[in-house]
Symmetry: D2
């Protein structure tokens, strides 16, 4: 990719991070609601810090303040020096948010200089790392929306404000159809080429049995049947860890659901509103998706043998199915997954909601982490997490692809996470 194009994409990504902060009050930049959700200022700083590492690695300008900011903004790279403990990000009051913005500007100016001045020999490496940095920043943009949603939900009801206007919708959900796929040996991972994370490699062969997959995500209405049938009270539907989590956290519905005046409502980026039975259920942990599945298998012959898809079944289906032109990504600004209409093309695979798969997050056979300072990016987290596929209504559309692997601990609920079933 030539320098101009890279620089133009760089500026677009960086500008998008600032644009999404426009509706925030100064108070909202600093708060760390829970340890796993970072403050906005930190996301803005950390994404810049990664570019500062590129500067350092490839002979760009180093600034006096890089060291102090490095301590603050290094997320988890043991190879890149000391860092503030993760759970202390929320207790930092200086640098102020304007100072962070100034640091972003400083990094941007220095990146521009690097792009102009680096040798042709180094350029491919610089370019590769800049692209990684941009995709990294897009990941944090998606996190921004999930974190702001959580942040605003913490306020007492009278003080909760929406981030965006509500989009009304009266779409009916398409009825369930089972779409058949042929198994056999296929190649998996980033076989399309283009950008991919190290965890999408090496591409490799796997054998799958034939399977059928639901044509859309499980809906709120379908999930309510599980709830009404005592789903949250019957230990027999649950994984052991799931039941423990359910009890300890007092789960009795997906995250953000609230019963008001005997009707379920949910907190969205457009404020508190009534649940829509036809829209995909989301903000579920893996454990809830799994418990639903175990309940559903007992609901009659059609459901016997259904289960969550493997990440490879999902990937195969995604590769063989036309994209749905009505899918929701960040640019459609629905900020919530929406129902797929009957007859709509596609299977709601990309966009709307991340889909839990049955798989733990593991390295592909022959996996090698990035060389150099990014070696810790993905590999060290391949333990006790589950893979999600497909992206969500707050993902940047260009950021997604069939081989993209997202991953979270099985009890995570603050992402836009839903699910569907397969049968074999």
């Amino acid at each position: 990719m030539d320098r101009e194009e890279v620089m133009s994409r760089y500026q677009a990504v960086r500008a998008a991070s600032l644009a999404m902060c426009q509706p925030l009050e100064p108070e909202e930049y600093r708060m760390q609601v829970v340890e796993y959700a970072s403050p906005v200022w930190w996301n803005l700083g950390h994404t810049s810090w990664l570019f500062a590492q590129v500067l350092r690695e490839f002979g760009g300008q180093v600034s006096e303040e890089d060291a102090a900011y490095g301590y603050l903004l290094n997320s988890y790279y043991a190879g890149l020096g000391d860092k503030i403990p993760r759970n202390r990000r929320g207790s930092v009051t200086r640098p102020t948010t304007p100072e962070i913005m100034t640091y972003r500007d400083s990094v941007d100016r220095r990146i521009q200089t690097l792009v102009c001045e680096t040798s042709d020999e180094l350029w491919p490496s610089v370019c590769e790392h800049l692209l990684i940095g941009m995709h990294h920043e897009q990941q944090h943009q998606e996190l921004f929306y999930t974190e702001i949603k959580l942040l605003r939900a913490q306020n007492p009801p009278e003080f909760r404000v929406p981030y965006e206007d509500l989009i009304e919708s009266d779409t009916e959900a398409a009825p369930i159809e089972w779409i058949a796929f042929s198994g056999g040996i296929s190649r998996f991972g980033n076989i399309e080429g283009g950008f991919g994370w190290d965890n999408e490699y090496p591409t490799h062969q796997r054998f799958l049995a034939d399977f059928e997959m639901m044509n859309r995500l499980v809906t709120v209405g379908e999930y309510l049947e599980f709830m009404e049938d005592g789903g949250y009270r019957n230990e027999l539907f649950w994984l052991s860890n799931g039941w423990t989590g359910c009890q300890q956290n007092g789960w009795n519905s997906p995250l953000y659901w609230e019963m008001k005046n005997e009707a379920w409502h949910c907190w969205t980026l457009s404020g508190m509103r009534s649940l829509r039975p036809q829209e995909p259920v989301c903000h579920l942990s893996f454990y809830e998706a799994d418990a639903f599945t175990n309940w559903k298998r007992r609901q009659g012959r059609e459901w016997r043998g259904t289960c969550l898809p493997s990440e490879f079944e999902w990937e195969l289906a995604c590769r063989q199915t036309p994209a749905n032109p009505m899918a929701n990504f960040l640019d459609t600004r629905s900020f919530h997954p929406m129902a797929i209409r009957s007859g709509e093309k596609g299977m709601q695979l990309l966009g709307d909601a991340w889909e839990w798969t049955v798989n733990h997050y593991e390295p592909y056979p022959g996996y090698e982490p990035y060389e150099g300072f990014l070696s810790e990016y993905n590999g060290k987290f391949m333990d006790n997490q589950r893979v999600l596929r497909g992206g969500s209504c707050v993902s940047e559309r260009s950021h997604l692809r069939p081989s993209y692997r997202n991953f979270w601990p099985a009890d995570t609920r603050f992402q836009f996470s839903g699910f569907r079933l397969v049968r074999r």
Copy 2:
């Protein structure tokens, strides 16, 4: 007290709370560093909330938003409705700080109306509650300084900023003298009249043996001897709970001390600076004061039989000793306890640093909590805390008196807390 005078004092107290916030950045209003230290916005709101209770109780104007603010700003009054858990104050981002300021204004306007319009019959009660509210706000003003000191200390070294300019001082500490006091039966509690908290009543008689008291607070230099003699490593000097705390928290010096280039420095509201051996040691837990005492008793005949004073020995001494005109209170803006000069009048009893006494915080015989909505103000905390006496360099001068009882858990270090010894 007449209405005008009350209103004028009210306005002064309320203005002082705003003035002290002038040097803060928006970021600094919201952070709750530890559960026991509240964010600035909350202190500003909570002190107003107490006045809103006065409005409610005495027929003042009630505002629509009182209920929602009540949930946020009620500290610990079970009798006054639901409240947000204390450890969640730092996760609230709305109402914003400007909205809190607007709410303060609304309360002030309504208080003004109440003061003007309340009947002569009700006035004494209204007046009494307003005075309580003002003293309450002064308590929170003192907390403000200790919380801001802690808040700014959390930032990485490169991003720590002072609150106030440094006052240089080369005063030598007065040598230790033992001032003799005669015991016998005396009356204790708020016998001077004037404002007093319920925990200073009833006044009552106690018998004390004769005693001698140090003429000043223990200094940094004296405390360093304890440290250099292994004070933090020898379990035999410590209370059992103190040793456990010392180990668990890794204490090896008072709070805010830091070794840089082989010299001790300390973090102050005027920034990081060298320790001054002659100034009173402060930011000590009761356990450290007690361990020093146990060490000191073994340092030769003069010290045999020394110990921390009882709160009644302190009160008697304070009552019988002229005030030191050079003592430091909030208005002297030293923001740190300072050495007492040889020949200076007084014993450094009021101001500079709170003094740990040997006593747990208990009710006086016949103690009755306030009637009505303030009944929970003091009594329910009379358990497993220690009494401190005297006030500090960040106390409002008019807020102190011989019978004033402050109290904190024995492991508290973020207050300006020091100590002295007595012998009998």
Copy 3:
């Protein structure tokens, strides 16, 4: 005391420790139900270990195994070498119980030799330390009963066995009378002479106001009124720490109470049986006693101004009141406090149940801990505990006296702890 008499008392105390273990199964010697309750084997070993320290200090025979046993059996003496963490006592399976018994025998034989052979010069010191060791062992004998009670309560209902036969009783409780005492200056502490712990010294003067004290302990029936009036559900009656403990531990009755077939029962050393309304309520925390008091003060004029006694009021009353010949101690083998009959002499002050006082456990003015290896016996625990007075139905009668100070954290419930009220 002459050597023969000491030796005879030594043997009696040591034999009593073995006798009380007779009804135990091998399983019951080893279990540590909670960190604060030690296994029986450990009590048997630890009391011997203290005598092994006397041997070491005064030139008695040292055994090869003393070092290994010292690590196991040292409770909390930092000055006497390393020790196994307290919470690990229950995980030790070797030495076996018979090996512990063999070690006891070894210590006994060596003590006998020491008593015979020590010089006249050393004898007074040896004698003093042996007496301390015996009183210490009597303290652990009392703990034995409270720990076995707790241990057996842990078993599922079908497998709970009594330690002793039940004593039936249909005594009516004496009606409440208020006994008047005159205050003024009196001397407190172990003024009778005879054995006393270091925490009963120095004797010293205090001033008390006149007061009246209940003629007996608060009964189960009286406590049930508190419960039925919502005592465990109304935060306004509770100390702040007490309410937190009440919520966290799910307290809704004293320890060992159980509702069966709509009637309250309680677990005793004689098995599970119906509650007797006339007997003293016991197995209460200080917090529950205090909450009852705050509730009771609102129950009419007679109760206004009542509160828990100070430890000095209790001591004065005990000194001025004839002992009750019907009181229950270990030798009466009731193993539970019993009702005091109308017209019975005495005020149920010694025996039956320990009585919570309002006081935190603090040193008397001029307190000095024991010299030498026992210096850690009492002093380092004078922090955040409450004083109890009087002894209980499982105390050795000869072990008690007016100046005896017991102390436990305010949330302790496994001791035979009750309370009474005073008014002034």
Copy 4:
């Protein structure tokens, strides 16, 4: 299988459980050292309880005491009624161990009756469940040895006793060879037939790439190189969760290793002895095996691309490799993995030490849990655990097979767990 043969095997399995307890003292039956290790009495009871469920299900005699024992001995079956919390098993002192033995006898007698008297129609089901119960008891026999090893290690060094005599060994470890296997599509799971757990089904096809596997387990000597090269101090070798665990638990060697007189020793069932560099390293967590692998990959070309095997690579290798006649199982009574000699047949796959694989424990495609009361046996634990294959020196030989899947959380170290590497 006919009734006589089943009964004869039943009696052999039941007798083996008692025989292994012979060397224990009464103290050792009751202790629960950590929550995940059950007391011996409980294992003896729980294995009987499973047979009591067979009695209940198939019309055997029910005993009065079954209900009370059920509460105590149910491990985790939500469908089979209430149960004592797992972490409370160690606090139970009644029923005594002899009472548990009596209950075992009662179950055995009733099982004998059931086997004799059940109808021919029911027999196949009864037989299947009895076999499950026997295999289940063999699993607990293996646990017994790991728990006794842990239990005895808790005692202070002077009081640690071996379970069995030491077997000396001076075998040299065979040098590393890489054995090649061809991939392609194969069938996995219990394809040999015979007994298998539900988690070994359904048999199904998978595709594997060609791979090479080490001819033996990694040795102590090889692991020491990792340690000496700072393996426990370099975060870059570790999974993120592994590093956290390493820090929190202070790991700096495998479990049971102890440095004495500057030489490594290890605690074994034959007592404390010197490490033997040639024997397989064991008592490692998955995290340590993984960290070793990440370190080893950097040790030169031979090691580049090596990693832990997948459970399917291991299964394929096991199926295609002759068993090693010198392997250690329970019956060889080495009680510790031993070195494989050069030229020895086989690859040390079955026996000696369980081998960590790279895989999380997941259901095979189309997995169905057992029907009926055993439905909770395996499925609900398929979350955040890792698969181990092969069995150990304390496994019953007949209990193992190529498709056997063991599983433990990645930080587990008290099992006899080792590992080997593959390369592709």
